[in-house]
């Protein structure tokens, strides 16, 4: 498969939390320092392993939100019945340590190559790996036409909101707020549907590359809509999250 780098064994590394950014009331980004981290490609994820006194361990996967070459950042959404996310969102503080290994995944990645426009479609915290691509695009000065279509429940639930309000050249950001909207909101206010995709997505004839990340239902709705618009299925790369508590 093109683009798959040859990897050695992914060993567990000790990561230290060096910063924690509250992105929204339910979402936090942890900035990590891990000796031996070999870097990543935009879109990849990593595994976290927590160990309790007594030896009990729990592992979860999280997308990397930082660009390659930046301090390593993962973004975690609090799940009420979760086991790991409450710890990472509410408990962890600077100086705490846990283990990680990665990077993982060689398909849902964007290296900044190619001239085709790039369509990024995010549902909720599914924006994290797409943000790595957006930050990478800015870091390398890419002029690739890029659109982010980002569905959130409300304006307060928009992750990376300030950063997305100052997009790098050639990046367009289109929000849709599905549950509540601030007064005076003139943007989209519904779930992604065929009409909305028809207005935001390039025609299939322009050959866009597509990355979609969100819940299964969200991803299926967006991907099915694009296939109906004539997008070749292989031009659409998806990442779906289910239980990641």
């Amino acid at each position: 498969m093109a683009g798959a780098a040859l990897l050695g064994r992914l060993t567990w590394l000790v990561a230290e939390v060096v910063d924690a950014v509250q992105e929204t009331p339910r979402v936090r980004t942890l900035v990590l320092e891990a000796d031996g981290w070999a870097g990543h490609r935009a879109g990849q994820h990593l595994d976290v392993r927590l160990t309790a006194e007594g030896g009990y361990q729990a592992e979860r996967s999280y997308s990397i939100a930082s660009a390659p070459g930046e301090p390593l950042g993962i973004t975690i959404e609090l799940l009420d019945d979760g086991e790991v996310s409450p710890y990472l969102v509410e408990e962890v503080r600077d100086g705490d340590r846990f283990e990680l290994r990665g990077p993982i995944g060689g398909y849902f990645v964007w290296d900044g190559s190619g001239d085709a426009p790039v369509l990024l479609i995010a549902g909720g915290s599914g924006v994290a790996p797409l943000m790595s691509m957006i930050r990478h695009r800015a870091a390398i000065g890419s002029r690739t036409p890029t659109r982010l279509l980002y569905s959130s429940r409300s304006w307060d639930d928009v992750i990376y909101r300030a950063e997305l309000e100052q997009p790098a050249g050639g990046l367009e950001v289109v929000h849709t707020l599905t549950r509540s909207q601030p007064s005076g909101w003139t943007g989209y206010a519904r779930r992604i549907d065929a009409e909305l995709l028809g207005e935001v997505a390039w025609p299939a004839s322009e050959g866009p590359r597509v990355f979609i990340c969100g819940s299964t239902r969200f991803v299926d709705a967006a991907a099915d809509g694009l296939v109906a618009m004539g997008y070749p299925p292989l031009s659409i790369r998806t990442e779906r999250f289910g239980a990641t508590g």
């Binding site: 498969m1 798959a4 064994r9 927590l50 030896g55 361990q57 592992e59 705490d96 299926d220 099915d224």
Partner: protein
């Protein structure tokens, strides 16, 4: 020796230890892991084939459904860390399908709608270890979970249970499939925690 994560207590093992492999947690959900859109092939255009033997063989949907089927209740383990216990399926044993083919192969590559592939040693799909499954929980298998039919190889990580499976190609040598070319382990035994390359 792992470091202790300050303040982490966890919930403790949430399933019988002999049924939940290392690094896994039990969920009642049925999450989906797919690399692209969900393909939808009409049943009247659907076939299942085995290639790479003395002669290629193929079954239509109705022919496959007419083969002897089995009810299967197994635990499944996804490489993304969730395990789901006592999932119930109905399908045709891969042993039954392979009886129709003369071959001396040691490996198979599964091919699926949507372009997905996954590789398996023949012994991992023989002797009652693998099925082509078409119902889940007594209902026709949903497209998002691989319907109309998916491979079911529950003793390996669930990406080996290829969704939307359409053919098995019999081979002399092992070659990596889709996820196996993208960083995931060539065999994927959850009890050995064979998640990624080098595990």
């Amino acid at each position: 020796m792992s470091i202790i994560s300050r303040g982490f207590r966890g919930r403790g093992r949430d399933g019988p230890p002999d049924r939940v492999p290392p690094g896994q947690y039990v969920t009642d959900d049925f999450p989906v892991l797919s690399a692209g859109p969900t393909p939808r092939t009409p049943l009247d255009q659907w076939t299942f084939s085995i290639t790479g033997g003395a002669e290629p063989v193929s079954w239509t949907w109705d022919e496959l459904r007419a083969l002897p089927s089995e009810e299967i209740t197994k635990d499944i383990h996804c490489v993304t860390k969730w395990s789901k216990l006592d999932t119930s399926w109905e399908g045709v044993s891969v042993d039954t399908l392979l009886e129709a083919v003369e071959h001396e192969a040691a490996y198979v590559m599964a091919f699926c709608d949507g372009g997905y592939t996954t590789n398996l040693p023949l012994e991992d799909v023989s002797d009652g270890k693998a099925w082509v499954a078409y119902t889940y929980g007594g209902e026709p298998l949903d497209p998002e979970h691989g319907g109309p039919a998916r491979l079911l190889v529950p003793h390996l990580y669930f990406w080996k249970s290829a969704k939307w499976v359409r053919s098995l190609d019999l081979r002399d040598e092992d070659e990596p499939g889709f996820w196996e070319s993208n960083g995931y382990h060539i065999r994927g035994d959850p009890w050995l925690e064979q998640r990624y390359w080098g595990d």
